[in-house]
């Protein structure tokens, strides 16, 4: 029987396009006791760096209308623990696509971390995060210049062998298509977009920023139209597959993202309001497809 929901990313088959976004689903294993993770097309793991990181001080979370700001700052145990413990533990309970999300503070750090992730047989795709707004001297700095983005992409590609490399793009740029094209030209196998939008809240009683880091990444349903527009622009400009991300909270949003050009769709902040949402979306998709007279999901990619 044909799986109406299946999609393919650079030769990696996903049972469906639904992928919890990096940073909103831990390392997957945290949720293994809650439901059978195998319903998920893929899982993008918490962003990892060469060295372990505590991240920023708390508060790291601020609520907003239609979304939230986070300034976690890449808390993670380091890429060695990722490949030695976290990924093998997840693979024991999960047969789908495991996406390692890698961040860094220099091209050399990206290269070292990605090489380690690429050597891990249980990792299917490497997602290079050049768009984290919450760390200084790295992360987003590489994602806001076409030249720097291309430099990271080609350096990382050189050490990842045949493993697909997706570059995760920042929306905090004046022309995301220019950055996307630079990454494609530098050898990226695919793109994930968008990361969070740089934002801020002030506690007017304390007269201080709500998050200790002053600024943080804004995400949630409020950014969906912005993300959708960028996915549409980028997907129509590049030939490589796009994972759409940003404000997705329902099966309808998944269909909309795919029509805009996404081959797979990541669900981020919504996991924080509803940890079961990815499973619920996968379960709701067939009925929505029937209603919209969609036979197979891969037929609708970039059709608008």
């Amino acid at each position: 029987m044909v799986n109406r929901l299946s999609v393919e990313l650079c030769g990696v088959k996903l049972a469906n396009p639904v992928v919890p976004a990096s940073g909103t689903f831990g390392f997957g294993i945290e949720m293994a006791g809650e439901y059978d993770l195998n319903v998920l097309g893929g899982i993008s793991l918490k962003g990892s760096t060469l060295e372990p990181r505590y991240g920023n001080e708390c508060p790291r979370i601020a609520e907003c209308p239609g979304g939230m700001i986070n300034a976690v700052g890449l808390q993670n145990p380091g890429v060695d623990v990722l490949v030695a413990d976290k990924v093998p533990a997840l693979r024991k309970v999960y047969g789908g696509c495991i996406i390692a999300n890698i961040s860094g503070f220099s091209v050399d750090e990206y290269v070292q971390s990605c090489a380690k992730a690429a050597a891990c047989p249980d990792i299917d795709i490497i997602e290079v995060n050049i768009s984290c707004p919450n760390v200084h001297g790295g992360g987003m700095a590489f994602g806001t210049s076409a030249q720097a983005a291309a430099e990271v992409t080609s350096a990382v590609k050189a050490v990842c062998g045949a493993k697909p490399v997706f570059i995760k793009l920042s929306p905090n740029v004046s022309n995301i298509v220019e950055i996307a094209l630079a990454c494609e030209k530098a050898g990226a196998d695919g793109l994930t977009l968008i990361n969070t939008v740089l934002g801020m809240r002030i506690d007017i009683e304390r007269r201080k920023p709500v998050v200790a880091n002053t600024y943080g990444g804004f995400s949630g349903s409020a950014i969906f139209p912005l993300a959708l527009r960028m996915v549409h622009q980028v997907a129509h400009a590049v030939k490589i597959p796009v994972m759409g991300c940003g404000g997705v909270s329902s099966a309808r949003d998944v269909v909309e993202m795919m029509m805009a050009g996404a081959t797979a769709v990541q669900v981020g902040a919504e996991n924080l309001r509803n940890p079961m949402v990815c499973k619920e979306i996968v379960e709701e998709l067939p009925a929505l497809m029937d209603k919209l007279k969609i036979n197979c999901l891969n037929e609708i990619i970039a059709t608008v």
Partner: protein
């Protein structure tokens, strides 16, 4: 963790700016006193993490203080209305800790998460001495309920308008109760003072932090501990006192 819809049975003011909401529905995920529930509030993006006061097989209750717009909306919710809640979150207190005589020190609405703990300790045949600290008489909650459980309760207020006048630590010093284990929940300064004073006694405290998911997947509420970074929501909120870096 369980995500389910609940019906509000009651939602009433029990002290100045403090409300108790009782929710009817599936309580099977709630296992220990000191765990919390994450309540969805219409019009707000994130849920409100609130300690479970008491539960049985059909319903559970939470006590919350109105401090922002989200809790203002909660206070206006009417009996009969539905609300979506995640239950069974956090580790909760360890009522099996080896103690024959337990000391429980609460500050403000910190009296809420300790209530089921005390109930369980008493059911296990432990002697329990409870201190309930508040700023003033209008803030006092759960005194009668704790007494009805059979606990030895001392109410303490800063201004002396009810019970012992002063800090909970003053009352403990003055009364010198006997205990071999302690539990505490309340403002951080109070819990630190309690831990400092009871340096030779094993114990555990319940911490608080602004949370994202409430279930350990976003790493938004991490705190420093002596054994490294821990998530308040999933590794806590209850930590052994030796672990805490104040």
């Amino acid at each position: 963790m369980k995500k389910a819809d609940y019906i509000i049975e009651s939602n009433r003011r029990i002290a100045d700016g403090v409300y108790r909401m009782t929710l009817v529905g599936d309580t099977s995920a709630i296992l220990r006193g000191g765990q919390f529930a994450d309540v969805a509030v219409n019009g707000f993006y994130l849920r409100r993490p609130l300690a479970v006061t008491e539960w049985d097989s059909e319903k559970f209750s939470i006590i919350y203080k109105v401090i922002g717009r989200g809790t203002e909306v909660m206070a206006a919710m009417q009996p009969g209305a539905g609300v979506n809640v995640l239950t069974g979150l956090g580790n909760g207190f360890d009522a099996s800790a080896p103690a024959s005589k337990a000391l429980v020190v609460c500050g403000g609405i910190g009296a809420s998460p300790c209530f089921s703990l005390v109930k369980e300790l008493l059911a296990k045949g432990r002697q329990v001495k409870v201190y309930l600290g508040f700023n003033t008489a209008a803030d006092v909650i759960l005194q009668a309920e704790y007494e009805a459980l059979g606990a030895d309760v001392t109410v303490v207020t800063m201004d002396g308008s009810a019970g012992f006048k002063g800090l909970v630590t003053d009352a403990i010093k003055a009364q010198n109760p006997q205990f071999d284990y302690f539990y505490s929940c309340g403002p951080k300064v109070m819990m630190k003072a309690v831990c400092d004073m009871l340096a030779d006694c094993p114990g555990e405290v319940s911490l608080e932090e602004r949370m994202g998911c409430g279930c350990g997947i976003c790493y938004g509420c991490t705190c420093h501990t002596k054994s490294g970074a821990k998530r308040v929501c999933a590794d806590g909120p209850v930590f052994k006192k030796e672990e805490v870096i104040w």
